[in-house]
């Protein structure tokens, strides 16, 4: 036992340190500084403490040291850690452009009216809190697939979509990753460069190999379409291609409809499987249908595909953790079997998914009046973001005398803008201007008010020109 403990400690420490650790433990014991050693007095009444106990006591107490002694501190999360740093900042000019959570013009979190209405309805009905089935709330799964593909889409009519409620986008991606690991051993996922930071963690922890395809072109602050096509072609046949359905995170750069067609062509050629991450349906253009057009385009070609969906942003249900994994299969039978395997993966992760968010979604999306209201609120939120984009662009253009072209801000779509700032410049944004953003140069426009656009423009201009 002692050797096991020390080997764990020495994994992250030099031999002399581990020896010191050992000495410290012994010292602790001799001095009896640990509370738990004082209880030995009571052991006299324990019939199992025999006369040989003296030797046993020393050894037994010696093993009450942590098994996890050598565990290092994990680094702060690059995205969620930003908000935590922001909270700690006391400067009054501070601005949180880190996490993709929508804020009002007053920079307050926003609970949608339809959500409040749905919750009150639920409260009145006084529903119970029984376990959902492993696959989640049936009503939720139905409206979710309908929302994504369109209720009258043939794939829905033909029952070819396996939908399982998941823990928002992350949880849905993780289920899909686990499915890939188990049923497509050796298959690779290719992901855009850059992509949402947590994608890599998900595939790493699920033990699915991944590599990157070119996506962002820093020269144009736009899409490197040729690079993307070439890299997708290069990938081994039958790879999974992770695509952002709309409002690419972190760049805000989406393919055009014509480019989507070509992407679908090359994926079909290589027998790849499209794997969509749809976290911003409605948030990109303001229209729920328009934002689903990439997914629907692929479905219309008869392709099999995976789609992870999230209601965190578009219904503001962030902390309820509500989303879904959809697998569009070639047959209804395959969909049934696939769904059963997704359940088998979910069961040892969390047994069954949380009910509250699912009920809210089912009540909003499944109720025509509330659904219409939701569409309006969606347009309002997306509209506010479009208008701050415009204001930011106007401020930058007016203030920046260098002639730099800032129009990429208007061309990008969704919550985020990839400013093109490098790490040092992003650090300057934080350290000098108290503007919190991720180190890849991404700013969340959802966290920007029109009142702060000019301040932000000053910060960006300073960082871009004065910091290398």
């Amino acid at each position: 036992m002692a050797s096991t403990m020390l080997s764990l400690a020495s994994a992250s420490a030099s031999p002399s340190t581990s020896l010191a650790l050992q000495n410290n433990r012994m010292t602790k014991l001799i001095l009896g500084t640990s509370d738990h050693t004082t209880l030995w007095g009571t052991k006299k009444s324990n019939p199992f403490v025999k006369t040989k106990s003296r030797g046993q006591i020393t050894m037994a107490v010696a093993v009450n040291v942590s098994r996890f002694e050598g565990i290092p501190m994990a680094p702060p999360d690059p995205i969620l850690g930003v908000s935590e740093a922001f909270k700690a900042d006391t400067d009054e000019m501070k601005l949180n452009l880190g996490v993709g959570a929508y804020r009002t013009e007053e920079l307050q979190p926003y609970v949608l009216d339809v959500v409040k209405k749905a919750e009150n309805l639920m409260l009145e009905r006084g529903e119970n809190k029984e376990y959902l089935p492993i696959e989640g709330l049936a009503a939720f799964n139905k409206v979710t697939a309908d929302l994504l593909f369109g209720a009258d889409n043939p794939v829905i009519q033909q029952q070819r979509v396996a939908t399982v409620q998941g823990l928002s986008g992350t949880g849905s991606l993780r289920l899909a990753a686990a499915l890939i690991e188990r049923y497509f051993p050796g298959a690779k996922v290719i992901i855009s460069s850059p992509t949402w930071g947590n994608h890599k963690n998900i595939f790493n922890d699920a033990r699915v190999p991944w590599s990157e395809y070119r996506y962002y072109d820093p020269k144009t602050v736009g899409l490197d379409f040729d690079g993307m096509m070439s890299d997708i072609k290069e990938a081994p046949e039958g790879s999974f291609v992770l695509l952002h359905g709309c409002a690419h995170n972190p760049t805000g750069i989406d393919p055009t409809p014509e480019q989507w067609e070509k992407i679908a062509d090359v994926i079909q050629e290589k027998n790849h499987i499209p794997f969509f991450d749809v976290a911003y349906q409605g948030f990109a253009s303001g229209s729920l249908d328009a934002d689903a057009s990439s997914v629907r385009l692929f479905a219309a070609r008869g392709m099999e595909l995976l789609v992870a969906q999230s209601y965190s942003k578009n219904l503001g249900l962030y902390s309820e953790r509500i989303g879904a994994i959809n697998v569009l299969c070639s047959s209804a039978d395959a969909a049934v079997r696939t769904k059963s395997q997704l359940k088998r993966l979910a069961r040892p992760m969390y047994s069954n998914p949380p009910i509250h968010g699912a009920r809210i979604v089912a009540n909003v999306v499944g109720n025509p009046a509330l659904f219409d209201e939701w569409k309006e609120e969606m347009e309002m939120m997306a509209g506010r973001i479009k208008s701050v984009r415009q204001k930011l662009f106007d401020s930058l253009t007016a203030k920046d005398k260098s002639g730099k072209d800032w129009s990429f801000i208007l061309k990008q779509i969704g919550m985020f803008s990839f400013t093109g700032l490098n790490k040092a410049q992003s650090d300057n944004m934080t350290n000098r201007w108290h503007v919190y953003m991720t180190k890849d140069g991404r700013i969340s426009l959802a966290g920007l008010s029109s009142a702060k656009c000019e301040y932000l423009a000053d910060a960006i201009i300073d960082s871009f020109h004065n910091v290398k």
Binding site: L39, V63, A74, V111, K129, T170, N198, I355
Partner: protein, 397 residues
């Protein structure tokens, strides 16, 4: 097409299914979900009140990766004791988890990452999903003796042998109270001996506590096994769930805690637990956590909760007594002492799979084939029928 060959998964027959009531002659005693004396699901009053207070106005921003701080604080108090010096000294690394399952899975993943050569010892029998959890986390499993079929009680001698024979520093999964599926718990004295032997061997104790409050009606008493280990200085791990004792089943709210040597280590361990959670679900769901912290943070609501938990536990204890008395009155040749000796939601009846099948086909009574009865589904309305059916099936010995 790629998904054509996807095989079908048939659900484990022992798995809990959602409650369904089809016709008055069906008695569904399978799942571990509490029912009132009318056989209906229950939402506790304290929960309803908490929901009223939080509905429609709390914003829904992401919780920190480790979950709701308030909820975690209250939750560790329940397991470790309000005045625990471990809490004062900030030695407990704790994160909100997706109920008991999520807590166990996080721990299994943590064990895999930081003790990659270790295995987990799991009792026989145990909740079926325990095996799935450690398997999917890729931690090898071994078993230890637990249930003694002949006495329908604890096989204490074999259990102690297994503890002694396991190599030093092994990881053990222990059910803190109300063992699932047998309802057989060690006595206090037995727990002390187990704890002592764990010290001798330097084993790591991981407690799955899914029924605190539900077993005896008193949460403090139900945590006794854990407190014994803590007194002996063990640095334990613990999975807690509010599914049963607060009736929050579908909300998926629980907690994983790991006792560390000092505050610094607790901070490091917590950061690593968060690191495991991030690629699984990013951060945990808020609603259930808000309910828990609202209730436990308000003295009146907490008092109400304690009363409601006791009521639930008492009803089940009452049904155990009624079932046993009914069987004895019917003149059963067998001993049904175990029905009242066992504790918690489940009763390991000792019936064979064949007998269970007959119970279902002839009497429309649904149990899991290992003979486990969910006492939560037994009511004054059906206990007579149940006793009669069991007697019919088992009277020939």
């Amino acid at each position: 097409m790629l998904l054509l060959n996807m095989p079908q998964w048939d659900q484990d027959l022992n798995e809990e299914k959602p409650y369904c009531d089809i016709g008055i002659t069906r008695e569904y005693l399978v799942q571990g979900a509490y029912r009132d004396d009318n056989g209906k699901p229950v939402v506790l009053e304290c929960v309803r009140e908490a929901e009223r207070r939080i509905a429609g106005n709390a914003n829904m921003e992401y919780l920190p990766m480790g979950g709701s701080i308030k909820m975690i604080e209250e939750t560790v108090k329940l397991a470790y004791g309000e005045d625990s010096h471990l809490i004062k000294d900030k030695r407990i690394a704790a994160v909100q988890a997706l109920s008991g399952t999520g807590a166990c899975r996080l721990f299994a993943d943590f064990q895999k990452r930081f003790s990659p050569d270790s295995q987990i010892y799991i009792p026989v029998p145990t909740w079926a999903n325990h095996h799935n959890i450690w398997r999917d986390a890729q931690v090898p499993q071994r078993t230890y003796h637990y249930y003694h079929p002949e006495s329908r009680g604890l096989d204490f001698a074999a259990l102690m042998d297994d503890i002694k024979n396991a190599s030093k520093g092994s990881f053990f999964l222990l059910h803190a109270c109300a063992h699932n599926p047998t309802g057989v718990d060690p006595s206090e004295e037995q727990w002390k001996e187990i704890s002592y032997q764990f010290k001798v061997k330097g084993h790591f104790a991981f407690f799955d506590m899914a029924y605190q409050g539900f077993a005896s009606g008193d949460p403090e008493r139900d945590a006794k096994s854990i407190r014994i280990f803590l007194e002996d200085g063990h640095l334990i791990g613990c999975a807690q769930s509010y599914a049963k004792n607060m009736g929050l089943y579908g909300q998926r709210v629980g907690c994983l805690s790991v006792v560390c040597e000092d505050e610094k280590q607790a901070v490091a361990v917590k950061s690593q637990l968060q690191q495991l959670a991030r690629p699984m679900y990013s951060n945990p769901p808020v609603h259930g956590a808000l309910i828990v912290s609202t209730i436990l943070g308000d003295p009146d609501l907490k008092k109400l909760w304690l009363k409601e938990v006791k009521d639930m536990a008492d009803r089940i204890i009452g049904m155990r007594t009624a079932l046993r008395e009914n069987l004895e009155k019917l003149g059963s040749p067998l001993s049904w002492e175990h029905v009242t000796k066992q504790i918690g939601m489940f009763c390991y009846s000792g019936m064979t799979p064949e007998q269970v099948d007959r119970l279902t086909s002839e009497f429309h009574i649904y149990l899991t084939r290992n003979g486990r009865i969910s006492m939560a589904g037994v009511t004054t309305g059906n206990v007579g029928y149940l006793a009669n059916a069991i007697h019919e099936i088992t009277k020939s010995g």
